[in-house]
Symmetry: C2
Subunit: 348 residues, 2 copies
């Protein structure tokens, strides 16, 4: 047993070539399974590869071939289960296609986003899947990534406008339809005084979700009082904090459509603290259907976005773009589905 697990020096094509008396080029052909090489030499080379414990240097190959075998994935916050699931889906699908995922997270800060993007782009990813931070501007992002690397925007639009030469693809959720469905559901259950709670209006997804709510309310002939829109950061803690403002604004509300599940869970927490019982005397809906939604007390009525499937889809879209760099940019809108659970009780 003399497998040469040389700890010190890196094994290259030259070592293999020397080791079995062929040229570097031949070894390279063997590695790539070319039909040009003779059966017999192929076997000899493959033995030698194993014997010396060769590991392929994809970076060198990519340099020469001017290709890339990685995709960068930039998300706001991995701690958010929606993005964690999304990332898992992206990584799964990229892995199956032989690509590797370069991870970056921005913590919802557009300045960190800029830094993360500039760093990632230096590693030469073939493309970038970006879920923009709140308030992220098109021109800043473009400056960070340059015009050469294709970008797939997920979940949110960028602020400002892109120059026409940057044709970026989009994968968006059907935000407006989602909150419309949720609002219609609450109206059907008998609610009339319904708030829209959480999120910041400078994020496009928030505006779209508000629009869906507004659309359903108008269609039902219900006027919206200004106090029925309360903003918050899209996190549990900030939503719990903002509950105070919601209840103070109008004590007669019977339901709220929330920006997302994190906000909805925070609202339920806040309601409890103010002596209200979500699912009993106050109806709540979320958005995303994260794993916690079905576990909360009461279980949360929400919109299922299937984040892992979205991740796979995002991966496939960016890979398709790599194959067709010139195809014109497209926008895919993924459907969402209303999942009715106990938090959307009828009014008392």
């Amino acid at each position: 047993m003399e497998s040469q697990t040389s700890v010190d020096r890196k094994i290259t094509l030259n070592d293999i070539a020397a080791g079995c008396g062929v040229s570097r080029a031949t070894v390279s052909l063997v590695l790539r399974g070319s039909p040009l090489v003779n059966k017999h030499t192929r076997a000899r080379v493959e033995d030698e590869l194993r014997r010396q414990g060769y590991v392929y240097n994809r970076a060198a190959a990519n340099l020469r071939r001017r290709t890339s075998s990685s995709i960068a994935l930039v998300v706001n916050e991995l701690g958010n289960p929606f993005f964690a699931e999304f990332a898992a889906g992206v990584d799964e699908a990229l892995g199956e296609a032989g690509f590797v995922t370069l991870l970056g997270s921005t913590g919802e800060s557009s300045s960190r986003e800029h830094a993360v993007l500039s760093s990632l782009v230096e590693h030469g990813p073939g493309g970038i899947i970006l879920s923009p931070a709140e308030g992220s501007e098109a021109r800043d992002v473009l400056a960070a990534v340059g015009a050469r690397t294709p970008v797939l925007l997920f979940n949110r639009e960028l602020g400002g406008t892109l120059p026409e030469y940057a044709h970026w693809d989009r994968l968006m959720l059907d935000n407006q339809r989602g909150t419309r469905l949720a609002t219609e559901h609450l109206i059907a259950r008998g609610h009339r005084r319904i708030a829209f709670f959480g999120g910041h209006d400078d994020s496009s997804s928030s505006r779209e979700r508000y629009a869906g709510y507004e659309q359903a309310m108008q269609a039902a002939g219900l006027a919206i009082a200004p106090a029925w829109r309360v903003e918050s950061a899209p996190t549990r803690v900030d939503a719990a904090r903002a509950t105070q403002a919601l209840l103070a604004g109008d004590a007669t509300l019977t339901a709220a459509v929330c920006y997302n599940d994190a906000v909805a869970l925070g609202l339920m927490l806040g309601l409890n603290q103010h002596g209200r019982q979500p699912g009993r005397d106050f109806a709540v809906t979320g958005f995303d259907d994260i794993a916690e939604a079905s576990l909360s007390m009461p279980p949360l009525t929400t919109l299922s976005t299937a984040p892992r499937a979205r991740g796979r889809q995002a991966a496939e879209l960016i890979l398709a773009r790599l194959r067709q760099p010139q195809a014109k940019a497209g926008t895919v809108v993924a459907p969402v589905e209303l999942v009715v659970r106990e938090s959307s009780c009828p009014p008392l």
Copy 2:
């Protein structure tokens, strides 16, 4: 405004050099902030870099310098919030150090783990942070990564033994102490008939956690019936399924120490389905303190492992190893802390 955002050709050092009449070497020195270059030429070069929209090619630099600026992170399952938080911590700390994270996930399958590792290692990471899949063997992992890339094992031991030349670092949780604390807590509350539920005994973390439980039981003079150990996959659904076996094995149990939070949440679900009320007539403890633990009904008594901090720590350990390749391998055991919530009620 003539910033040359050339969409077609990649800008290299040569382009910059030609663009301002200096040599490639000088531009390279400017990029790396060398004190050798003249103030005035530096300014000229920097202008040109901006003007042409140059982006650094780190892969080429790494090839020449035989260095790496990435670390691979291989985790069982990103959908599990414990690992998602861990990954977030790793990525944060690596990013701050100027490294990029190569992501891979194994879905608890050791064959996928092998494939993922072989693929990642070809991209030449400086090191690998690996949370092994259940039943993953030392020799298989070594075969996949080779002996050149340093590895940091997180959370679990590998099966089998490593050859002595592979000196791998470890970051482990204080599993045994954790379940000992949880068990002592239940005993102090008055429980005597306590099960250990979930996990598979071929994972080292599971064995360690069982050992902590056993230790506390023995110290209290309590004998453990064979029916008090029921295994399950470390997921919510499988734990819910296995609840049946636990209750059928001994109907007089009053409490269970669970392998982790996912299992504990599944058990609570299963208990409800069998007409028992966790936190009222059956006490449950978990392990990990994932975000859902405080939200479940009842809130879960568990062991806080601070996964994000562990992630940062893992990143720091592997970076330290890069700086000191020859230092001898070490094992760090991270402390855990008991968080008492309502699921660990006293017996009726």
